[in-house]
Amino acid sequence: MRTVLYDYYGDKARMIDFNGWEMPVWFTSIEAEHFAVRRNSGVFDVSHMMRTRFVGDAAGELLDKLCTAQIAKARVGKLIYTYVLNDEGGVADDGIVFKLSQTDYLFVTNACTRDRLRKWFREQSEPLGSRLEVFEEPADRGMIAVQGPGALEALRSTGLADLSTCKRFELVTQGPWIASRSGYTGEDGAEVIADGEVIRGVYAKLLSLGVTPCGLGARDTLRLEMGYPLSCVDVDESVNPLELGGERHIDFSKEFIGKSAITGNAPRRRFMGVMVDEAFVLRGGYSVHGESGWNAKLSSGTLSPVLKRGIGLGLLPAEAKTGEGVTVDVRGSRVRGVVASTPFIRKG
């Protein structure tokens, strides 16, 4: 599948298949794009994200059943980070609900779980009949993320939206576009969802203002430095949200699918960071050995461009403690490191 920005890429980007989407992985260099976002501003095509509208008087009620976080009682104009659990309490996906009105919601979830969630949303909405409509955004709409210390100023300069008075995780919307102060990089910035023509226009203006076009490679190194889990890579349905440390995104005062399965069970493993002492690239599947005798595997990792050290994420046994010494098997060598708290780098 191709996004509304595909024609722009031509020979400017190295492309990869990402869950069925032809996406740029980098334009010039992952490291250069990473630092552009940390120091100035970069723009990502994130149109591959699944975007589902829930519209009708039962929309809040259904989302409260599907999501661990409180949706119906949240304020209009808020973005709400949430998990979607299966009946066994496993994380089917994580995502962000955009509350456009009391009866109109946009749920942004990951590309890798599209088929599963499409079926799940349909099954769960059917009993509510005509009380709501659930539909995906058409393919001629797109989504971009402009991220970095200069991102909001750049977006304002395009003339589309001024988010300077908007708080983090809030949105403004006007006719066919939505702009929110959000992202997946740890930097301040915005995400814009709109018709393809608007997205292409804003993207071109951002580039002319000096915003760096960025690919999914930098998106991954940026989210890894922040310790954010990536669905289908770090998280699958065998993982429960408490293992991810996600208590603050769960409202136990309401009913939701998977609630009984996760209630009263202390997690036996926790999603944590590992950092090695040297400039190695850590990768998913690498084995980690704790000084206190446990073994685990990383689910993802990289070389942190900022720290110049290998960093990784994974579910470690509950006895693993921040600061504990570890060794990581890196291509036949044992490399020394520690269990690290995340984010690996401190922002603002």
Partner: protein
């Protein structure tokens, strides 16, 4: 379009080989290879004195996305490695045929090894075919 200098020899695994007048051979990876790999962030070099065999792994390079072997274009003995790559592996991206060279080896028999290598036009055709 990636650069393919005319005076070098090439492997189908995208290493290049320069034969110096002394008979020592310099090895690196091609412009095409570095552009496919993206930022090279880690290099494990061989040591002077190590034996290398033609088309067997002699070094390892890592980009953000992948771990790749570097295959020796010749059978012989390593005589020097580019130790500046330890501090700055990105030299391979910036100057793959110059400052980004990887190691030098003294081949046992360059005449025998050369039969397995591609000249510049053949390598150009080879990567052209790989799109």
């Amino acid at each position: 379009m990636s650069k393919v200098p005319a005076e070098l020899w090439y492997t189908r695994e995208h290493e290049w080989l320069r034969i110096e007048p002394s008979g020592v051979c310099v090895v690196g990876i091609t412009d095409y290879a570095q552009s496919k790999l993206g930022d090279i962030v880690v290099i494990d070099l061989p040591k002077p004195g190590d034996r290398v065999e033609q088309m067997k792994s002699a070094a390892v390079i890592e980009s953000f996305k992948a771990v790749s072997e570097i295959y020796s274009p010749v059978t012989g003995t390593v005589v020097e490695v580019n130790s500046s790559l330890k501090e700055d592996p990105g030299l391979v991206n910036r100057d793959p045929y110059g400052a980004g060279w990887i190691f030098k080896a003294k081949p046992d028999s360059i005449d025998r090894d050369r039969g397995q290598l591609l000249d510049a036009p053949d390598y150009q055709n080879f990567v052209g075919g790989q799109g």
